[in-house]
C-alpha cells in the first residue's frame, strides 16, 4: 500500500493556458467519460423499460459534467462516496461498465453479486464507497472516509457528493460542523439539479445560495456551472488543493440539471417540457464540450470513432448484464457477517 501511495498520481494540474494540445487531450477525455455515462444511462433506461432492471433506478443524464470534472481533479487513493444516483460516479471512478450494468440487472456478475442493485454498489479497488440509498447518510460516512485520512496522516481527500434535496438533512449540518472542527479533508459537492424528487429547491430550502450553507462553520464555498466540465474541473482543483493542504473542508455547489425523472417512475409533472428542452438544447454538457473540441480542430471522424467505441462498450456491458446468470440461491446467506 505504501508503495502505491508513493507512486499514485496526484491532483493533476490544469493544462497551461494556450497549450491547445493539452486542452484538447483533456477535453477529449472528459467528453469520452461524459458520453460513456450518458450512453450507459440511456441503455439502463432501455433495459429498465424491458423489465430487465427492477426497483428504483435513478439516471444521471444531464449531470455528467459534475462527476467528470470533479474526478479529473483527484488522484489514486482519494475516496468517493455518493447517493443513489450513482451510476455516473462509478463509471467516472473507472469501474467496469459490465459489473455496474450486471448489478442493475441483479446478476451474479454485478459488483455486489446482485445483492445491492442500482443504489448500492461499491468498489474497494477503485475507492468508491457507494452508492447509498438513504438521503444524506453518505455525508456523515464521507466524513468518516476523510477522518481515516486524517487519522492515518496521509494527504488523501474524500469527495462527498449529495443533492440539493439532501442538503436539508440534519446530519449534513452535523457533518459540516464536525468536518470544520476537525479540519477533515472532505470536499462536499452539492449537485443541485433543482429538484429533490418533485420539490424544487426554492420550495425546499430557505437558503438561496447553497454554497454558503457552510459559512457558519467557516467552510469555504463556491458555486460552479455544473453543465461545464472544465469549469467544474477548475473549481474542483481549488477545493481539492485546500483539503489536501490540511486546511479543512470545502463546499462546492454545482448547478446542474437532470433530464430524466427522479427515478424511472417519475412522470415529472413539476416542471415544464420547455424548461427541460431549454436545458437540453442550450446547456447540454456533452454538446458544450463537443463544440469546444470542434473549435480546437477535432474532426467528425474522431467523434465518430469515440461514439462507436462507446456504443460497443455499452452494448458489451448490456450483453454481459443479460448473459450473466442470476445469483446462486446460496448467495442469500453469504456476506451477512465476516466469518472468523
Amino acid at each position: 500500500m505504501a508503495q502505491a501511495a508513493e507512486t499514485r498520481k496526484r491532483g493533476k494540474t490544469s493544462a497551461k493556458t494556450g497549450d491547445s494540445n493539452a486542452d484538447r487531450a483533456q477535453l477529449l477525455t472528459a467528453y469520452r467519460t461524459m458520453l460513456l455515462i450518458r450512453r450507459f444511462e440511456e441503455k439502463a433506461g432501455q433495459l429498465y423499460g424491458m423489465g430487465l432492471i427492477g426497483g428504483f433506478c435513478h439516471l444521471y443524464i444531464g449531470q455528467e459534467a459534475v462527476v467528470t470534472g470533479m474526478q479529473m481533479a483527484i488522484g489514486d487513493g482519494d475516496e468517493v462516496i455518493t447517493s443513489y444516483r450513482d451510476h455516473g460516479h462509478m463509471l467516472a471512478c473507472g469501474m467496469d461498465p459490465r459489473g455496474v450494468m450486471a448489478e442493475l440487472t441483479g446478476r451474479a456478475g454485478g459488483y455486489s453479486h446482485g445483492k445491492g442493485g442500482s443504489m448500492h454498489m461499491f468498489s474497494k479497488e477503485k475507492n468508491f464507497f457507494g452508492g447509498h440509498g438513504i438521503v444524506g447518510a453518505q455525508v456523515s460516512l464521507g466524513n468518516g472516509l476523510a477522518f481515516s485520512n486524517w487519522y492515518r496522516g496521509n494527504d488523501r481527500v474524500c469527495l462527498t457528493y449529495f443533492g440539493e434535496g439532501a442538503s436539508n438533512q440534519g446530519q449534513v449540518y452535523e457533518s459540516f460542523n464536525i468536518a470544520a472542527l476537525m479540519k477533515l479533508p472532505t470536499v462536499f459537492i452539492i449537485e443541485n439539479n433543482k429538484y429533490g424528487m418533485g420539490t424544487s429547491v426554492e420550495r425546499a430550502s430557505a437558503s438561496h445560495d447553497l454554497s454558503k450553507n457552510g459559512v457558519p462553520w467557516g467552510i469555504t464555498g463556491a458555486q460552479v456551472d455544473g453543465m461545464d466540465v472544465l469549469a467544474v474541473k477548475a473549481a474542483a482543483e481549488v477545493a481539492v488543493a485546500q483539503c489536501r493542504a490540511g486546511k479543512g473542508p470545502y463546499l462546492l455547489e454545482a448547478k446542474t440539471y437532470r433530464y430524466r425523472g427522479h427515478s424511472m417512475s417519475d412522470p415529472a409533472r413539476y416542471r415544464t417540457r420547455e424548461e427541460v428542452q431549454m436545458m437540453r438544447t442550450q446547456h447540454d454538457c456533452i454538446e458544450n464540450a463537443r463544440h469546444r473540441l470542434e473549435a480546437l480542430g477535432v474532426e467528425e471522424k474522431e467523434f465518430k470513432a469515440i461514439d462507436d467505441e462507446i456504443k460497443a462498450t455499452i452494448q458489451d456491458a448490456a450483453d454481459f448484464a443479460q448473459a450473466s446468470p442470476e445469483p446462486d440461491p446460496a448467495e442469500l446467506w453469504t456476506d451477512v457477517l465476516v466469518e472468523g
Binding site: 454498489m121 481515516s148 446530519q171 464536525i178 417512475s265 446467506w333 465476516v338
Partner: protein
C-alpha cells in the same frame, strides 16, 4: 436496420398499461430523447422517450389501447433511413428472466445460531476483583495497545474521562488522536465512525447511553449492518457501539430503555450484553477484534460492581457462548445483563426452599447460544426468561421460541416470561420499582411452574 420499440415498464410494479397517446406518427423523424408516446401506468401518466434515432416506420398498438403488457412491441423504428416491412412478432425480445421462485429452497439460516461444538469453556486461571468499569477500560486499553487502528470516539470520552468514567486514563495513554471527544451530534459522529470503519479503521463508539443511539439508528442499521451484504462482501464494518443500556435510577422514560431486542433483530449485527467484570472485559475485547459491527449493551448500575476477573493478559470471552452461572435441576432461568444478578438472587432464595434453579447468563444475544439453553431445558424441563425490557417481541419471546424449536418435547410446562412492565418507565421511586423485575417476580414465576 430496424428496431422494435417495446412497451416499457415505467415503475417497479408495472406489468401492463394503457397506451394513451402517440406523439409521433408514422413517417416522423425521431431523435434519442424525443417523447414518442404517453402511457398510463398504475401510478401516473408517463412519457416514453426514444432511445434510438430513426424514422417511425410502423405503429403496432393504437392509442387508447388498454392492458398492453410490458415488453409488447408497440412500434417499429427504421434506422439509417431504410424502409421497413417487419411483422410484429418476428423480433419479439426475450422477456425478463423469471424470478427464482421455482428454484430449490435456499439452505436454512445459520446466521443467528452460535457456532456449535465449542467444547468446555477455557479455565483462565487466577482471578482478581475488579469493577465492571475497570474491566471495560482495561479491555479497550489492551486492544488499543495491540492495534493502532483501534480508537475511541464519543461524547466526553477524552478530557472529561468519560461521562461514567469508563474511559478514565485513556486520553493520557493514547492521546487526542485515538481518544476523541465529539460534539453532541450522534447522527453525525456515528456516521463518521461507520465511514472510518468502511475504510478499514476499527472505531469504538461510546454512546453516553443507548437512548441517544436512536438518533443514529439509521447509520447503525442501514450503513454499518448492511454494507457488507450490499457490497457483495467487499466492504466490512469492524466497529463497536457500546454504552449503558436499560434503566439507571430514576431518570424516567426517555433515559431508561432496554434496546436488546431492537438490535438483536438485525442480521449483520452482533449483540452482546455483559453482566460481570469478566463478561465485560472478555466480550468487549472480542467485540473490538471482531470484523463485524458489534453492539455492546452495558448497564450503568453494574459499572461500580466488583467481580472476580481472570488476570491472564490474553483473557477473552468468545461471542456466541452463554454461560451457566449456577447449576440446577428443577428449572432453567435465562437472563442477560443486569438481570443475571437478579436471577441469581432469586435462585438463592429458591434453593432455601429446596428448588434448584439453573441460571444461564446469555452474554451474547446475537448470535444466540441456543444449544446451551436447550441442553439446560432438556435437563430441567422448565423455562423462565428474565429481561428488563418490554415483553412484546422481546428477548424472552425469542428465547422461548428457540426452546420450542429445539427442546419442545422436554418441556413439562409452558415457559414463563419475567420482564419490565409494558409501560414507559416512570420517575417516581415507588412506581419505578414496581415496573422493573425483582427477585420475587422470578420466584413467583418459578413456583407457578413447579
Amino acid at each position: 436496420m430496424a428496431t422494435q420499440i417495446l412497451m416499457p415498464a415505467l415503475s417497479p410494479t408495472m406489468t401492463e398499461g394503457k397506451l394513451s397517446r402517440w406523439l409521433k406518427h408514422v413517417g416522423d423523424d425521431v431523435r434519442a430523447g424525443d417523447v414518442i408516446a404517453e402511457i398510463e401506468t398504475d401510478k401516473a401518466t408517463m412519457e416514453v422517450e426514444a432511445v434510438d434515432e430513426g424514422k417511425l416506420a410502423q405503429i403496432l398498438v393504437d392509442e387508447g389501447t388498454e392492458g398492453v403488457a410490458v415488453n409488447t412491441p408497440i412500434a417499429v423504428l427504421s434506422m439509417n433511413g431504410e424502409s421497413v416491412e417487419m411483422p410484429p412478432a418476428t423480433a419479439a425480445r426475450k422477456s425478463a428472466p423469471a424470478s427464482p421462485k421455482a428454484e430449490a429452497p435456499a439452505p436454512a439460516a445459520t446466521a443467528i445460531a452460535a457456532p456449535v461444538a465449542m467444547g468446555p469453556e477455557k479455565d483462565w486461571g487466577p482471578t482478581a476483583p475488579i469493577t465492571v468499569r475497570e474491566a471495560l477500560r482495561d479491555a479497550m486499553a489492551a486492544e488499543m495497545r495491540a492495534d493502532k487502528d483501534v480508537f475511541l470516539i464519543g461524547e466526553e470520552v477524552a478530557q472529561y474521562q468519560g461521562a461514567y468514567k469508563i474511559s478514565q486514563g485513556l486520553l493520557d495513554e493514547f492521546g487526542p488522536k485515538r481518544v476523541i471527544d465529539t460534539p453532541i451530534t450522534e447522527h453525525g459522529f456515528t456516521g463518521m465512525a461507520v465511514g472510518a470503519a468502511l475504510n478499514g479503521l476499527r472505531p469504538i463508539v461510546e454512546f453516553m447511553t443507548f437512548n441517544f443511539a436512536m438518533q443514529a439508528m439509521d447509520q447503525i442499521i442501514n450503513s454499518a449492518a448492511k454494507t457488507l451484504y450490499m457490497s457483495g462482501g467487499q466492504m466490512g464494518c469492524p466497529i463497536v457501539f457500546r454504552g449503558p443500556n436499560g434503566a439507571a435510577a430514576r431518570v424516567a422514560a426517555q433515559h431508561s430503555q432496554c434496546y436488546a431486542s431492537w438490535y438483536a433483530h438485525v442480521p449483520g449485527l452482533k449483540v452482546v450484553s455483559p453482566w460481570s467484570s469478566a463478561d465485560a472485559k472478555g466480550l468487549l475485547r472480542s467485540a473490538i477484534r471482531d470484523p463485524n459491527p458489534v453492539i455492546v449493551l452495558e448497564n450503568e448500575m453494574l459499572y461500580g460492581q466488583t467481580f472476580d476477573c481472570p488476570t491472564d493478559p490474553d483473557f477473552i470471552v468468545p461471542i456466541g457462548r452463554a454461560k451457566v452461572e449456577r447449576a440446577g435441576s428443577h428449572v432453567t432461568i435465562v437472563a442477560f445483563g443486569i438481570m443475571v444478578g437478579v436471577a441469581l438472587k432469586a435462585a438463592e432464595t429458591l434453593a432455601g426452599e429446596g428448588i434448584e434453579a439453573e441460571v444461564i447468563n446469555l452474554r451474547s444475544l446475537r448470535p444466540f447460544d441456543s444449544e446451551t439453553v436447550a441442553a439446560s431445558v432438556r435437563k430441567t424441563n422448565r423455562l423462565v426468561t428474565v429481561e428488563e425490557g418490554w415483553p412484546f417481541a422481546g428477548i424472552g419471546a425469542e428465547v422461548t421460541m428457540q426452546v420450542i424449536e429445539n427442546a419442545f418435547d422436554w418441556l413439562d410446562a409452558p415457559p414463563v416470561r419475567v420482564h419490565g412492565l409494558d409501560v414507559p418507565l416512570p420517575y417516581a421511586n415507588n412506581l419505578e420499582k414496581l415496573a422493573l423485575p425483582q427477585p420475587e417476580w422470578i420466584i413467583d414465576a418459578v413456583k407457578k411452574l413447579i
